[in-house]
């Protein structure tokens, strides 16, 4: 009956989203009066999950699963859910989890709600709030099947620490052969990703050209932030497509989003709306972004950004 949660790890370390989905699963388990079981694949110290409400960890150690494979991981989750008799399976909104969840839903004949932002408002019918229309609205959705799959939006629930302990149990699901084989992974390991970042620094066409991104990168570095851009910037080839955020690009759900020289078109705002705090730097006081932002500076990015970098460095030195 326990709530099952997929806790992602990378190179043997749990990702922050693992703790967030575990916290969410714990809240759901409390509502249902049950426990939380996590599934961890080739992860390090499973007991870490106890601090976020996990009671039991099914630990899979299998070198065939070193590289993420949706079919294989989905099969593992399906078998875990069946073994535990789980009625609720919780995943995150990472690229891998979003790849997995529909496959798990089909194999468990479960209804699936993605981009969920709150714990269930009701458990019978099981009703969750999810974002819809790319953050322009919310939708209350009931999941009507016996087993339910929930994909939790990033940064929507946060981390909730408890004083629990997690026991660990070896789990060896049978892994089907997959028709998809990973040939190579190309990933910058020294850069914060938009998906994981607490802070995102984003530049628009107001920055005039790719040669001016040095200050954006420097600001990002000072803040430990990821860099992003508006759609025209990636269409013009100033920045890689993977940095394009917005309704047709990547969603951003960071704690802080700093928009530099971005006008704030509806398609841009839709994608970044779920960031908690938004700062805009723009020469034009009429730019629509000012209506969507929490803090704004009307000014020239080429003056404001270098000053901001300098002030942040001083702030960091003082608070170090």
């Amino acid at each position: 009956m326990s709530v099952l949660v997929y806790t992602e790890s990378e190179q043997g370390k749990f990702k922050k989203v693992a703790f967030e989905v575990a916290s969410y699963a714990k809240a759901v388990a409390d509502q249902l009066g049950t426990t939380v079981t996590a599934v961890a694949v080739n992860a390090g110290d499973a007991s870490e999950l106890g601090a976020y409400g996990v009671d039991k960890v099914l630990t899979i150690n299998n070198s065939d699963l070193d590289k993420f494979n949706a079919n294989a991981y989905a099969a593992a989750l399906e078998q875990a859910a069946k073994q535990e008799g789980s009625k609720v399976v919780v995943l995150s909104s990472s690229a891998d989890s979003k790849y997995l969840a529909p496959l798990v839903a089909v194999s468990l004949e479960a209804g699936y709600a993605s981009n969920v932002v709150e714990t269930p408002s009701n458990t019978a019918p099981f009703t969750v709030k999810r974002t819809a229309f790319t953050n322009k609205a919310f939708n209350l959705t009931s999941i009507d099947t016996d087993v339910k799959v929930v994909g939790v939006s990033k940064n929507a629930f946060g981390l909730v620490e408890t004083s629990g302990n997690a026991t660990s149990e070896d789990f060896s699901p049978s892994i089907p052969t997959s028709g998809v084989t990973v040939q190579s992974v190309d990933k910058a390991t020294d850069k914060v990703t938009i998906a994981d970042a607490e802070i995102v620094v984003s530049g628009g066409r107001g920055l005039k050209g790719p040669e001016n991104w040095g200050m954006v990168e420097e600001l990002a570095e000072v803040l430990g932030a990821a860099t992003a851009c508006s759609k025209p910037v990636s269409d013009l080839g100033w920045r890689p497509h993977s940095e394009h955020v917005g309704q047709t690009g990547k969603p951003v759900a960071s704690n802080l989003y700093i928009a530099i020289g971005i006008s704030g078109a509806i398609q841009h705002l839709a994608g970044i709306n779920s960031s908690k705090v938004k700062v805009v730097i723009n020469t034009d006081p009429e730019a629509p972004f000012f209506k969507a932002a929490d803090y704004g500076v009307v000014g020239d990015a080429f003056e404001v950004v270098p000053t901001l970098i300098e002030k942040l460095k001083a702030f960091k030195a003082q608070n170090a």
Partner: protein
């Protein structure tokens, strides 16, 4: 190669989103509907296969008669035939089950869907469809090549990309990158004329069940006014971010 491109019919990205009937229904008044942007990239890649490697391209939508102009637009862009499964789309699972029946019927080699639709943002139809038809599946697909029955795809992952090899039958969830923005085609007069002659068949649904139910919509709470900081006083911004917003 037989390609099926799944087309979701969605409000134009500039649409203001409103609801009616006690916030239970999306208000379509004054809303322009378009091909879901992710599907437009997929359709354009399908046209590339047709022109460069030889392929037959069918587009499909699960929806009421109101989606036909969107399917006609896909025909005008160059698809050979269109299918509309005549039932309202209720949730991703139901749509995937209806599409699975179309896929099994037509024995398609390659199904191109979008990573997600921009209305419901489910991100679930292609994965469920792949699972239901036992096809291989790659999502967040930013590049796809097919050679005989083998395929190479690139998938965007958090912080990078991953190259995979797989084989047909294959379902992909596509997005920008599959083709570039500048490769997208606006239907020309000739395309629009030709689209009128192309078959758009309406098939009856299998009446698959939906597993979730939309209960109600809600709009985000209105935002408070922006706090402006003088460009000469950036210290204040740093202090606000630290003390008030507590984000640094």
């Amino acid at each position: 190669m037989k390609i099926l491109v799944c087309i979701s019919h969605v409000p134009d990205t500039t649409s203001k989103i409103n609801f009616t009937e006690g916030d239970t229904k999306f208000d379509t008044t004054g809303v322009q509907f378009v091909i879901n942007p992710n599907d437009e990239f997929g359709l354009t890649r399908a046209m590339w296969f047709k022109e460069k490697q030889g392929a037959n391209v069918t587009v499909v939508n699960v929806g009421g008669p109101e989606t036909e102009p969107t399917l006609r637009k896909a025909l005008a862009i160059g698809a050979d035939a269109a299918i509309r499964v005549n039932t309202a789309a209720k949730d991703g699972f139901q749509v995937a089950k209806e599409l699975a029946s179309v896929v099994n019927e037509g024995a398609y080699d390659l199904v191109i869907a979008g990573r997600e639709s921009i209305d419901y943002n489910g991100g679930m139809v292609p994965g469920m469809l792949a699972a239901l038809t036992k096809a291989n599946y790659v999502t967040n697909c930013i590049s796809l090549d097919v050679d005989g029955s083998n395929a190479t795809a690139v998938r965007e992952i958090d912080g990078g990309k991953e190259t995979v090899t797989t084989s047909l039958p294959l379902v992909i969830g596509g997005q920008k990158g599959l083709v570039e923005e500048s490769d997208l085609r606006i239907p020309n007069m000739r395309g629009i004329m030709m689209a009128r002659q192309k078959p758009l068949s309406v098939v009856e649904p299998t009446n698959a069940s939906s597993e979730t139910n939309s209960v109600q919509f809600e709009k985000p709470a209105p935002k408070g006014a922006v706090t402006l900081v003088d460009a000469d006083n950036i210290d204040q911004l740093v202090s606000l971010l630290h003390n008030e917003a507590k984000v640094i």
